[in-house]
Symmetry: D2
Subunit: 137 residues, 4 copies
DNA sequence: TTTT
DNA sequence: TTTT
């Protein structure tokens, strides 16, 4: 089956880098992708898309990119669910980034080695032990 | 900015066709896209991705495709929010399909005229007047 | 059927804008997309991908973008053939751009209105009357 | 940089499987992807897109798929050149498939394990020692 | 609950 | 026949 997403947009806030108990890096980030037209009031709207990236690229992202910067994302859509604070199941649809491209970087010019192949299968091979209370959704 | 999604998966249930007050057709549908690997228990998992399509292609989808059939989707990610029944804002990430391809059809062999160009801007040009209580999320 | 291409790369030369006899604008351009790894000699290689865009976006491209600038392309692959100068048929595979995003612009900050829907069907509805001798391939 | 291609189409002929001198499998194949509209004579046209795939998936492709079958391809565009029989340099643009999905299979129902990550970097890490005279272009 |  |  096919599952492919490509986005270019701006970071809505700084990436949120964490580590699993086994030491893997994960970064959550949200990008604003402007819609290609204006709405009925002449305003440009955006979609705000949640993304995740794992391992070394997660650390690079947190090191070199910050709120407002433009970024490219190549990955796939994933859905997952967790128990919300009110006991109800919460369903999440987000982009699992295999690679990101730093289209601007205030901090440093190190360009992320873009890595088509990496739409990280390892994500799944190890339980994520960040507790749900910490998840940004 | 760029916002592109391509999926191939199977309809998890029959498409849900509705009409806005102004008479536009909208179909909501969910597809299961198998992950390309098995989990730690050797099971194949899937992502369950919500999609929307507008106008004539929505009617064609409802007419020719049903639960279990394989479908291709070309579109873009959109996010929106509505007030949930508990008064809390619910955020939705879904795929706005510009075109769909019927990769199997139990009903009829009419192949959807696949339509790269149609990632429907008109979606936004008119308020959607289906009430939130009817939305399948 | 599905046919989708998304690229981010740099213009290898200035876009080449022409007009058909009926007055439609067409721009041909080539972008270098660096490969995500270095070769056996430690060098970064690139793919050099030929693209075409029609109508107003072709004129915008020629007006605002030039050699070396970074550009995003959303489109589809097309193949065509013509008789080469030696009488042999030449086959061309290129990207028909539906929309482009100006990720840098030396000339002006006018951001191309990115237009998912436009993977230009009109391309085909009218014969292209630029003579083959003028084609950049 | 970003370089992503997704296609669904039909094999125009049986895949052509070969081995490099070092024993790696490579399969070349061409798919016809119908255009989403008919031309001025009411005929449906297609694009004929050359693709390559490496290693085990190349062997699976050759084993399970044949002329006329529908296939999905996820990969990236690559360009390369070689010296043609008339001494002139020939430029090739083709899709390097990272994964393929067998959407039909006359031979066997074994579904290719779809493998987002595999847009094969190894392709480049070893010289291809099939002589140019054998190349299908 | 948002970016330029 | 190539970009940074």
């Amino acid at each position: 089956m096919l599952n492919r997403v490509v986005l270019v947009g701006r970071l809505v806030k700084d990436p949120d880098l964490r580590y699993t108990q086994s030491g893997k890096a994960v970064a959550n980030f949200t990008i604003a992708v402007n819609k290609p037209f204006t709405n009925q009031n002449g305003e440009r709207e955006a979609d705000f898309i949640n993304c995740v990236i794992w391992n070394k690229p997660a650390e690079n992202l947190a090191n070199y990119m910050s709120k407002g910067q433009m970024i490219g994302v190549d990955g796939n859509l994933q859905t997952r669910s967790y128990d919300g604070q009110d006991g109800k199941r919460v369903f999440v649809t987000e982009v699992l980034a295999g690679s990101v491209q730093f289209l601007e970087s205030k901090k440093n010019n190190k360009q992320e080695a873009v890595d088509y192949p990496s739409t990280a299968p390892q994500t799944q091979s190890e339980p994520i032990d960040i507790s749900d209370d910490d998840l940004p959704f």
